[in-house]
């Protein structure tokens, strides 16, 4: 438009009219319009990059994580030979227990050899023991547990579904190749030939692996057996602590600050503290938990209770901030009406303002909990990593007090282990964690949509 006025000015001053009309753009307008388009393009590119990163991240998670949900299993009829498991033949449970997992090895060897024979596959090994490398070392314990639970089965031939060794599983998932096995001392290319043949025969199958979702962590050498179930329970107990403490404390603190607090130095001090705590790095809360709860108060290390306490302190500012916002959104007329019919200040808040603010408070709490569920750094300092979370808690007290892991801590633990098979577990764990977070956030959104009132 500036050009237009300029043109007209020049036109009025003399007969030397510029060649261009207002309908054709001059060079300067073109430049400015190009700059405008460029600038707009930068915006689109920036937004695009952000979204591409999101897609890349989600793609990496889904692609790397989904294999963790299936696992290669071998279906083997194992003869529970009486001569090996119960020499005296009197089914005495104490004597059966004396046979260690090592004593079950020959049974598995026989079973594999028979499976090969039945399917007409020639064994490339002279020693039958070499074939058991195809099978996870967890298989012997699995068979032993079943025998100890049902001693009557001894002497029968029972069909078992045992885990394939992690390398074999990796081969079928494309993680392990024949070239990479050249440097591997656990497995040879011949093993893979046998595995391929067994797969064709239907003895080896890839099936959905519930044990990954519900099972316990396993030692470093048995990634095929590791599951996230125990850590999930640890997270559950931690979230219970966080919910039970941070919701009442957060709501009480917000009510005080929003409805009762006088304008003075003390209130300012509390407000400054809350807004600063919201921005303190989470690792500092871990240091606090270590120094105060573990060193000073002597609470047990690695316990979900301590983790829950630390996460409570971390979540409180989030919950207080969102609760105050929803209390503030309740219009003053509600309070005035309550006071007008003779309610006390306390009654007006608890009977009228709080119920109306509840949907907003719950939404904020769920989002705060979701944040706490994904938090890792403070848990590292209070000792929720560095060991194998293999025991399910056997009761509520033990759930709170016994050493356990949490989902993000378990993922970190797996990411730290040397075997690449654990990376797949870590990605799989992330999928489970994100499913939980997504569910919580969707619940929060639904709550907000459904109950939010516009005044």
């Amino acid at each position: 438009m500036t050009d237009l006025t300029q043109d007209m000015g020049e036109g009025a001053s003399g007969p030397a009219r510029p060649a261009n009309s207002i309908f054709a753009q001059d060079a300067r307008t073109k430049r400015r319009n190009a700059a405008e388009r460029r600038f707009r393009m930068y915006g689109v590119i920036a937004l695009g990059i952000g979204l591409v990163f999101l897609v890349a991240l989600l793609f990496a998670i889904v692609r790397n994580g989904t294999p963790a949900f299936t696992q290669t299993f071998i279906h083997l009829p194992v003869e529970l030979s009486e001569a090996k498991l119960d020499k005296n033949g009197n089914r005495d449970i104490e004597q059966i227990k004396k046979v260690s997992t090592f004593g079950y090895k020959p049974l598995i060897e026989d079973a594999v050899a028979r499976a090969l024979e039945e399917n007409g596959i020639a064994s490339p090994f002279e020693d039958a023991g070499d074939l058991t490398d195809l099978i996870s070392s967890a298989a012997a314990a699995q068979i032993r547990d079943l025998v100890i639970a049902n001693p009557d089965m001894i002497g029968e031939t029972v069909e078992f579904r045992v885990l394939a060794a992690s390398r074999v599983d990796g081969y079928f998932k494309g993680r392990v190749t024949r070239e990479s096995l050249a440097r591997d001392k656990n497995l040879d290319a011949e093993h893979l030939d046998v595995a391929d043949a067994l797969k064709d025969a239907g003895v080896i199958e890839r099936e959905f692996n519930w044990d990954f979702i519900l099972g316990a962590d396993a030692s470093e050498s048995r990634p095929e057996q590791a599951g996230i179930g125990v850590a999930m329970l640890g997270s559950f107990f931690m979230m219970l602590v966080v919910l039970l403490l941070s919701l009442p404390i957060g709501v009480a603190a917000s009510i005080y600050l929003e409805e009762f607090a006088p304008q003075n130095k003390f209130t300012d001090l509390i407000e400054v503290n809350i807004s600063n705590l919201a921005a303190v790095p989470s690792i500092v809360f871990g240091i606090l938990g270590l120094a105060v709860f573990i060193q000073f108060a002597n609470l047990p290390q690695s316990a979900p209770l301590v983790g829950g306490l630390v996460l409570t302190l971390m979540t409180l500012p989030t919950i207080i901030i969102s609760t105050r916002a929803s209390l503030k959104a309740v219009p003053p007329s509600i309070r005035d009406a309550a006071l007008g019919v003779g309610a006390s200040k306390m009654q007006s808040v608890f009977h009228h303002v709080l119920p109306l603010a509840m949907p907003g408070i719950l939404t904020g709490t769920i989002i705060g909990l979701a944040q706490a569920l994904g938090e890792t750094a403070p848990l590292l300092l209070i000792g929720m990593v560095g060991y194998i979370a293999s025991n399910y808690p056997d009761g509520i007290a033990s759930g709170f007090l016994d050493p356990n892991s949490a989902m993000p801590a378990q993922i970190y633990e797996w990411a730290k282990r040397a075997d690449p098979a654990y990376y797949e577990r870590a990605w799989g764990g992330i999928i489970i964690l994100l499913v939980f977070l997504m569910t919580m956030n969707i619940i929060a959104i639904i709550l907000r949509r459904r109950f939010e009132r516009r005044w």
């Binding site: 319009n33 915006g43 920036a46 603190a253 005080y256 500092v284 120094a291």
Partner: protein, 490 residues
């Protein structure tokens, strides 16, 4: 009587108090609720609180104080020749506690009669084996002094438990009685109940102060302890970081600082242009449909836990960068040796910060008054000229504040650097080399079986203190800028 049982009795007394208080108030008004000062329930709550507060407060205090008191008394029984320093004494005391607890367990499970437990002798009875039978494992055989101390411990504990039960219950009953006696139709029951509730609300609000206090105290005490073992000047100005738990470690913070700074810088170089431009596009150009789709999508990035970003850095971005910049990579430059590097962590951290920068900038750009835009358009400026010459200068303080907040996030971020940046502390300019940060070293010094009294573990607290102070200053400064700016247009 156990503490749990006492607690249950107090709670029962409280419930009883509610019913009695309510009934008494009603009868004082002749059954006519209108003559009461408060609603009948408040008289009940008043009586209930009068029983609960003294009872629960005393119980809590006693539970904390009794062990301390008993330990002090029992410690005098242990001859000073039996230990060398405070650590030795605390080891003996924990033995004493275990033996005492073990004897209690044995009596409870019936393995020992109470008399037998009292008359045990260290030399003749094989205490360790007998306690082992009931499931209490002892590290060594029990000496005569330990046993004597344990017996004294048990005796004092028993007396303490009885005294606790008696006094706590008496206090609760006295409070209840007093409240019931005062319960009358003119008693301002609601006012006193509301005073108590308000007290609870204030206590809840004070937890924020207590948390800050807890953080500051736990950092300060351990930092002082660290500086007693290691000179402060060498910590702040040392250029080598090589902790060794055997002793002779050099704990200079400068390499960690450099790593933190370098990674944060790269993260900001990624996040600020992208985040800012995305915010400008979303708030000034985008149609409502694009905005309602793209804004939540960007915010999904903010909701993803940092461990996910850490894993993404370690297993996806690191290998990709090596494939480009590493030996035999696409560019063939061979700058990068391993997947963990400053670049890896910085890039991923930048992705994490994009939504943070964009949503803060979005708010700030939106709060620039529409009149300023209209004025600029009226003078003939294009949209981009308006943005560059009017909106951004007006929003600049707020945007600087947002960038500072993002920087404080980047400095305090832990999981991405623990997994993506490597573990080697070095001062180098090459962004493709592995470096480490303050937060990563806090984790590595405090996890594992470190001895918490050694300077190598205590240094983590000094690092935490530095981190806390830096992020606090950045936050306060940023909030100050943002707040100052906001006031200009309101």
């Amino acid at each position: 009587m156990s503490a749990t049982l006492t607690l249950l009795i107090i709670l029962a007394l409280g419930a009883l108090g509610y019913l009695a208080g309510r009934a008494r108030a009603m009868s004082s008004a002749g059954g006519d609720g209108r003559k009461l000062h408060s609603l009948p329930g408040y008289y009940g709550y008043n009586a209930m609180l009068s029983a609960l507060i003294p009872g629960l407060a005393l119980l809590a205090l006693w539970l904390i104080a009794q062990p301390v008191f008993i330990e002090n008394r029992v410690e005098t029984l242990i001859p000073e020749t039996a230990y060398e320093d405070a650590g030795g004494l605390s080891l003996i005391m924990s033995d004493v506690r275990r033996v005492a607890e073990g004897l209690d367990v044995a009596v409870e499970s019936g393995a020992l009669s109470p008399e037998e437990a009292r008359d045990l002798e260290a030399g003749t009875d094989d205490l360790r084996a007998r306690l082992g039978d009931v499931g209490v494992a002892l590290g060594s055989d029990v000496s005569a002094e330990t046993l004597a101390a344990a017996q004294r411990y048990r005796a004092l504990d028993r007396i303490g438990d009885w005294a606790r039960t008696a006094i706590v219950l008496l206090a609760a009953i006295a409070g209840l009685g007093l409240a019931l006696q005062r319960t009358h139709r003119d008693l301002r029951a609601r006012n006193s109940v509301e005073r108590v509730i308000k007290g609870l609300l204030i206590t809840a609000a004070c937890i924020a102060i207590l948390t800050t206090l807890g953080i500051v105290l736990s950092l300060i005490f351990n930092t002082i302890e660290f500086f007693r073992l290691y000179p402060a000047a060498e910590f702040f100005f040392g250029t080598t970081w090589s902790p060794s738990f055997g002793g002779g470690s050099e704990l200079g913070i400068l390499p960690l600082f450099w790593g933190t700074f370098y990674i944060s810088l790269i993260a900001l170089l990624v996040a600020v242009p992208i985040g800012l431009m995305a915010a400008i596009y979303l708030s000034e150009y985008a149609t409502p449909r694009v905005r309602s789709f793209a804004k939540p999508m960007l915010e999904v990035l903010a909701g993803i836990p940092t461990i996910v970003y850490g894993l993404f850095a370690l297993l996806t971005v690191g290998p990709i960068l090596v494939a480009i910049f590493g030996d035999g990579g696409i560019l063939g430059v061979g700058w990068m040796r391993g997947g963990t590097a400053v670049m890896t962590a910085g890039l991923v951290m930048g992705i994490m910060l994009i939504p943070f920068v964009s949503s803060l900038s979005d708010d700030i750009i939106n709060s620039v008054p529409q009149a300023m835009r209209d004025g600029s358009y009226g003078l003939g400026a294009t949209k981009s000229e308006t943005i560059r010459q009017v909106i951004l200068p007006a929003a600049l303080p707020g945007i600087v504040g947002a960038i500072l907040l993002a920087a404080s996030r980047a400095i305090g971020e832990t999981m991405i650097v623990v997994l993506g940046a490597g573990a080697a502390a070095r001062l180098s300019l090459n962004p493709f080399e592995a470096m480490t940060t303050v937060t990563a070293k806090i984790v590595s010094q405090l996890t594992g079986d470190a001895d918490f009294a050694s300077p190598e573990a205590l240094v983590a607290f000094a690092l935490g203190m530095t981190l806390f102070v830096i992020t606090l200053c950045l936050n306060i400064f940023a909030l100050w800028i943002v707040r100052r700016y906001r006031e200009q247009y309101e």
